[in-house]
């Protein structure tokens, strides 16, 4: 081969390496510009005079807002995508696991006697770790129990059967909370003091920073677990071919239970975040959140954890964008429209090439 034929392929390789970061930067710039346009548009509609600097600042706040909401959806979407990846079941109860997580954290914080911001940083750290640990472990166990009772006996049944039990479990969780705890909106303690932190031109509230960093940290930990550990390898091999994995000595039941544990624990974490960030929860938030998170999972490419995280942020952004343009009550319609469009034109999602046969 001559040097002339090598150099374009090398440059293409170099481009390939930079494709993702460049794409992300372009997407962020476009997203920011759209939000800016939305702020300007709204100020025209409501005829409130605004300056470019003010609008830029507002657009930045909305961007952070979108990332925060997106982080919550991403955490829920991970559970959907993991479960779908491994047993090809839409776990309808997953959104309600998220809801239960928010109630566990509410129960814990109010039982410990907290009602507002905690100013002592040591105490705050301890309480936060406690809230996340308790909610994640409890919901993880709930997830495992759901799998054991409602899905495992039907693993070889017709496809309709586990889907119907999943819907049933969803209603059971929702109505247990409805009957036992409360049938109306509940105020959850917002224990973060929430000052504004400045990084040069960017100002961000502590809670937003906390949520985004936490979500990204959990995602990196999950990715490391899946790709680097023995159990993670067992999960991947079970997802690809259950029988072959079993022949290679993987304990299928334990692996599937583990998947449910991790997915539900992440939903539990999202539940704690829901309480900390929005300060409210109600027995039926899981339904809508679940639908949106599932859309995120499909958008990213079902079975693909990176895709689910990406999809979560996209859905969060879509929701904020529609409300910035003054169509907040249509955000669900926008999300659902996205779902149908993705399913029709690219059922493998953004990053789902490797699971093309799953669609």
């Amino acid at each position: 081969m001559t040097a002339a034929t090598v150099s374009p392929s090398r440059s293409r390789q170099a481009l390939g390496r930079w494709k993702l970061p460049i794409g992300v930067v372009i997407a962020l710039v476009v997203a920011y510009a759209l939000l800016y346009g939305g702020v300007i548009y709204q100020s025209h509609v409501l005829s409130i005079p605004t300056t470019a600097a003010k609008a830029l600042d507002q657009a930045q706040q909305q961007m952070i807002n979108a990332l925060t909401i997106g982080a919550i959806y991403a955490l829920i979407a991970l559970g959907y995508t993991m479960v779908y990846g491994i047993i090809e079941l839409i776990n309808f109860a997953h959104g309600d696991v998220f809801m239960c997580g928010s109630f566990v954290s509410w129960w814990l914080l109010t039982t410990l006697g907290f009602s507002g911001a905690i100013s002592n940083p040591v105490l705050l750290t301890v309480v936060l770790i406690l809230a996340f640990a308790v909610s994640m472990v409890v919901m993880g166990v709930v997830g495992v129990v759901i799998e054991r009772v409602a899905y495992r006996p039907l693993r070889n049944a017709p496809r309709l059967a586990p889907l119907i039990t999943a819907i049933g479990v969803s209603f059971i969780l929702q109505n247990i909370v409805f009957v036992v705890v409360s049938n109306s909106l509940i105020n959850s303690p917002q224990i973060l003091p929430n000052p504004i932190i400045r990084f040069g031109p960017i100002s961000i509230r502590e809670i937003n920073l906390f949520v985004i960093v936490l979500a990204v940290a959990l995602m990196i930990a999950l990715q490391a677990f899946i790709t680097r550990t023995r159990l993670g390898r067992a999960m991947r091999s079970t997802a690809i071919d259950r029988e072959a994995a079993q022949l290679m000595g993987v304990d299928i039941n334990t692996t599937i239970a583990l998947t449910f544990f991790i997915g539900s624990a992440l939903a539990g974490a999202a539940g704690v975040v829901q309480g900390l960030y929005f300060g409210i929860t109600v027995f039926n938030i899981g339904f809508q959140a679940g639908l949106k998170a599932f859309t995120a999972a499909v958008l990213g490419g079902i079975g693909n954890t990176t895709g689910a995280a990406l999809g979560g942020f996209v859905i969060g952004y879509l929701e904020v964008l529609s409300s910035v343009y003054g169509y907040g009550q249509w955000s669900e319609a926008a999300v659902f429209g996205t779902l149908v469009l993705v399913l029709v034109f690219r059922p493998t999602g953004i990053l789902g090439q490797q699971t093309a046969d799953r669609a």
């Binding site: 039990t165 819907i167 049933g168 479990v169 059971i172 109505n175 247990i176 319609a333």
Partner: protein
């Protein structure tokens, strides 16, 4: 006893006659049920729960759910497609009638043709939703219909310039017989007319559905449900066949919607939430997927339990003055428990338990039962025509 009845030649002849003339037997049996129900309502203990008039009105509402269950049965029970947004088509039917016969639009199209129009409009929406998504795998259909069921009420709520938002559309016209049997408008006070109307609709729907089930299309549905790949390789166009099931299910729901809107004279977006789809699904699963009689009975029983049973249980418990229970940290004060709140919890439990323990439903269709318990089939249950050469030869 059965053998004695069977050996009686007249009864045997009557039975074979009814088996040959299925529509006639449906006509007779639905007619008998329609005549018996109001009588049952006057017999204790039912007579203690309310007067006959209220019961008949309740039966008419139950009929709406029977229609919903019948339509959903085609989609879920026969074709094996999980439709979780079934209430959307109900809403579309109801709003279709609300637009064509109320003060809101100023139109007053008669009720009877609108039954068909409502069914048609709902079927069109079913095709619009199904055409792009039915190519996908079954569980994607479930989530898409779930989303659709969620969006349709949102649209009716938010597009308030066209739908009057939360308040919905009121003053919807009643059915009118234009003097036939001396009846003009149905009015609000007389539940009997609605009762007989809904029974008439159920009767016709059941006849059509039985015909469909035993037709080439019905067999294609079942084939797709059992093995889509095998069905496709036998020459069935799976997408069109599934789309047809979806459209027929949607049209039954639309039909029910027209009747419901006319009986209630009001439609609002919050009447068509996910709980309606979920209730209809519970009815189909409990009654026995694929069995027309089973899902009808399931729908009727569940509707009466939720509208009458739980209320009476409340009354019973409150009048019985049960002692307050102290179970460790939990205190159960019976008087404060409202059993109506447990409705959806019970449905959820019922769905899970049915799927685990008796997936064929309480009243299974014969085919479903045989599929799910293949070992239990006795040779005598297999008709000779179904036994091909070598069918009993052990190895397939």
């Amino acid at each position: 006893m059965t053998s004695m009845l069977a050996s009686n030649p007249t009864i045997r002849e009557a039975r074979s006659f009814l088996r040959r003339h299925q529509s006639l037997s449906i006509l007779i049996s639905v007619g008998i049920i329609a005549a018996l129900l109001p009588i049952v309502a006057t017999v204790p203990p039912f007579s203690g729960f309310g007067n006959q008039r209220d019961f008949v009105g309740g039966f008419a509402d139950a009929g709406v759910f029977v229609l919903l269950a019948l339509g959903l049965n085609v989609v879920v029970g026969l074709a094996g497609l999980l439709d979780l947004g079934y209430a959307a088509f109900f809403a579309i039917g109801a709003y279709t009638f609300a637009y064509s016969a109320s003060g809101y639009t100023g139109l007053d199209v008669p009720f009877w043709p609108m039954l068909l129009v409502g069914a048609f409009v709902a079927a069109m929406f079913g095709i619009l939703l199904g055409a792009p998504t039915l190519r996908l795998r079954g569980d994607y259909l479930a989530i898409v219909t779930l989303g659709f069921g969620e969006i349709v009420p949102v649209v009716f709520l938010n597009a308030s310039a066209f739908t009057n938002g939360t308040n919905g559309i009121t003053g919807i016209s009643q059915p009118n017989l234009y003097g036939l049997f001396g009846i003009h408008g149905f009015g609000f006070t007389n539940p009997w007319l609605y009762y007989f109307t809904v029974f008439g609709i159920i009767m016709l729907t059941t006849m059509i559905l039985y015909r469909l089930q035993d037709s080439r299309i019905g067999r294609a549905w079942v084939a797709i449900r059992e093995d889509e790949l095998a069905a496709a390789s036998m020459g069935i166009n799976t997408v069109t066949t599934k789309l047809l099931a979806f459209a027929i299910g949607a049209s039954t729901s639309g039909l029910a919607g027209v009747f419901y809107a006319s009986k209630l004279a009001t439609v609002t977006p919050d009447q068509f939430g996910f709980t309606v789809s979920f209730t209809a699904l519970s009815m189909v699963v409990l009654g026995g997927m694929g069995n027309i009689w089973g899902v009808s009975v399931g729908a009727f029983v569940i509707y009466e339990i939720q509208s009458q049973g739980l209320k009476q249980l409340n009354n019973l418990v409150q009048t019985a003055r049960l002692p307050t229970l102290h179970l460790g940290p939990v205190t159960i004060d019976w008087a404060t428990i409202n059993f109506l709140n447990y409705q959806y919890l019970l449905y959820g439990l019922a769905l899970v338990l049915m799927m685990l323990l008796r997936p064929e439903g309480l009243f299974p269709s014969r085919r479903r039962r045989e599929e799910l318990h293949e070992v239990d089939i006795e040779p005598s249950e297999i008709e000779p025509s179904e036994i091909g050469p070598g069918a009993l030869g052990g190895e397939p």
